[in-house]
Each structure stands twice: as C-alpha cells, then as structure tokens.
Subunit: 217 residues, 2 copies
C-alpha cells in the first residue's frame, strides 16, 4: 500500500460502504480497499483490531489525510469540503443543500439503520424478511413523495448529489429483500438512470475485490 | 402567529425535536411551536394534513425562510449555513467538522432510530424496554470510546457543537429507559455540564408548551 493513499475499510454488500465508494469514484480519488467481511468468522468487524479503528464496529471507515473517519455521510461531507472540485456532491444554495441533506438523512437515519444486518439478527430469522420489507416500504412511500417535488433527472434537479449516493444502495437493498418497487416510479427511474453512470458501476457490490465469484458482474 | 416567524412542529418528548430546539435557542432565533402529539389520537403525525408537510410523519419539521425542512441534522446544518453567527454549531476546520458530524451521525443514525417510538411499537410491549436498553448501551459503549479521544468540556473540545445537541437528548432517552450509565463517565460528565447551559434548559422536554402538567419542571 502506497503511503498517503486513503484506505477504505469496506464490505462489498454494505450499502453505507457503497455510498462512500461512489463518492470516491465521482471525485476521482485513488484509494486502497481493506475488505471487512461482516459475516465470515462471526463478523470481522468485531475484531479487537477493527474495534480500535471504529468503536461502532461498522463499515465504512476511511483513513485519509492522517485521520480516521466513520459514518458514511460524515465521510462524504469531509470529501466535499476538502475536495470541492467538480462534481460537487452538494449544491451551493443553502436551501438546495437542505433538500439534499434531508433526502440523505431520510435514508441514512430513517430507513437503512432499521434494516441493517445487526438489527435483522436481533429481530430473528423468521420475521426478518417481513420486517425489512415493511421498514423499506414505509420509508420509500415517504421518499417517493419527497422526490416528486425535488427530482429532475436525479434526486435534486439534474445534478448528482449526496442524496443519489444514498438512494442507489438503498434501492439495491430493497431489491435484495424483494420489496415491490412498483409503487415508487420516481425512485425506480432515478435508480435506473444512476446505474448507467460509471462511478455507480465501478463501486457496485458486484465489482468489489471482496465480491464472491458467484455474485460477480 | 407572526408572518415570517419560523414554525417548529415539535413533540416535547421527541429527542430529535429537542436537538432542533437547542439549536434555535443557541442561535437566538425566535419561533412558534406547533405541538404534534405522537401518542394522542393514535398519533397526530399520521394526520393527512401533517403527512403533506412531512411524508415521513415525524417531528421535528421546520418551516423557515419559505421552505419546509425535515430531518433534525439537515435542519441544524441549514441554520448553521444561513445563521453562522456565534455560537457556531460546527467548527471551521474540516477535520474537526468531520469529528462533529461523525459523533452526530453515530447518535442520529446509529442509536436513536433503533429506539424510537415506532420501532419499539414494532418490537412489541414485552421486549421493548430490553431492546431499547440493548441498543442504547451498545451505542454508548462506542460513543464513550470516541469521546475519550475528542472531548474537552464538551463532545469536541471546549466549544458546544452539533454533536452536543445530539448527545443530551439521547442521554435523556437513556435515563427514561433506565439504562445503567455508570460505564460511560465521559458521556455522563458532558451531559451534566450541558444541562446547566441555558439553551439546553429552555428547550428541555419538561419546559415545552405541550409538556403535561405532571412532567413540568
């Protein structure tokens, strides 16, 4: 590993890791990946070594510029503030920034945490699929309504923003949990459009160093 | 209600509403409160009228400067960007800003959503207290570890920041759910210090227009 190159601790299937991988790809930041397998060995995030790096025992975790940052949106905001060159991940207008953060937080606080791996484990194997479907559907109903007034080609107008970095991995989770997406035409349209963008493709769970062969694109 | 005055849709006991009430108090912003009772009438947040305002059917929701913002951290970031005068809620240094956002998101995405009212309802009455205690304790273990390297008088050094606005309401929730706080001396110390600050006192759940008489300070 080259000294000074950012290191992303990531799991191919982690939707929060994917958010950060998209940001790094959009900004053209070269980085190394250290895969943390969230299921193997009872979960590699629970190792003492990793806990020292991130006491929450979660990915993503980014080492960059001499510091370690956890929490995907905090990482993305840091990348934006220190590498503001195009493409911007947040618009310049404060009201538009509020919209981007509102959509991002709706997903990052309002949907994802309720269907992540550790919660589904707590819920129990029998009911976890129904649980995941219920929380995602409920969140998507709200998100669809919000996007109908903010969206252009993307979540906010016609520029890719942090909100899109949250949307795509969340829709991928919805597909994985077999959520019926037909009631959410705006979400689905933006998702499909974004999957054609290179930064979303190279960062895709099917194309990571730790993607198992049977799931590779 | 005076035209142009911000309107906060709030519930006295909502920890996310409290975050925003602290921000408004610190910034000295005069506002009106419209109470949304999350339990009465099956939950006033589920009314058609409120759903139009916030499709997530959650408080806080803030009407300000001609727009409606939901999601507490998006609201606080907007207040900071449009009213940056002292006290700042985020430091100027990007690395310090990353720390503040990391701590804020640890609470706002990593703890609070897992113990909010609608999730506890889903979990069921018999196990909800144990569930809330488990998710808060697990999050506080990580938070205590993070704060041991960031804290001064407050969460980050000696200036109040957005992280403190998240910490105090979360500790109040922990107390409500009878979480043993003895393993978290840094969290507890900062909490007690902040409770002596006027902006945290006037915004306290025990002093809101919708606080029931028996819970009033």
């Amino acid at each position: 590993m080259q000294a000074g190159k950012p290191i992303l601790y990531s799991y191919f299937r982690s939707s929060c890791s994917w958010r950060v991988r998209i940001a790094l790809a959009l900004k053209g930041i070269d980085y190394d990946i250290v895969p943390i397998n969230l299921v193997k060995d009872g979960g590699q995030q629970y190792s003492k070594e990793f806990e020292t790096l991130n006491p929450m025992k979660q990915v993503p975790t980014l080492k960059i510029d001499g510091i370690t940052i956890t929490q995907s949106l905090a990482i993305i905001e840091y990348l934006e503030e220190t590498r503001p060159t195009a493409p911007r991940l947040l618009p310049l207008d404060p009201k538009e920034r509020a919209s981007v953060r509102m959509i991002s937080d709706l997903i990052a606080s309002g949907i994802q945490p309720l269907q992540n791996l550790s919660i589904l484990k707590k819920v129990g194997q029998e009911t976890q699929l129904a649980w995941a479907q219920a929380v995602i559907s409920s969140g998507f109903k709200a998100l669809e309504s919000v996007l109908q007034s903010t969206a252009g080609k993307y979540c906010l107008g016609n520029e890719i923003s942090m909100a899109d970095l949250c949307l795509v991995p969340q829709v991928a989770n919805a597909e994985r949990y077999k959520v019926d997406l037909s009631p959410y035409p705006t979400i689905t349209r933006i998702y499909k459009t974004l999957l054609t963008v290179e930064a979303f493709q190279v960062s895709h769970p099917s194309r990571q160093p730790d993607t198992p062969p049977e799931l590779r694109a």
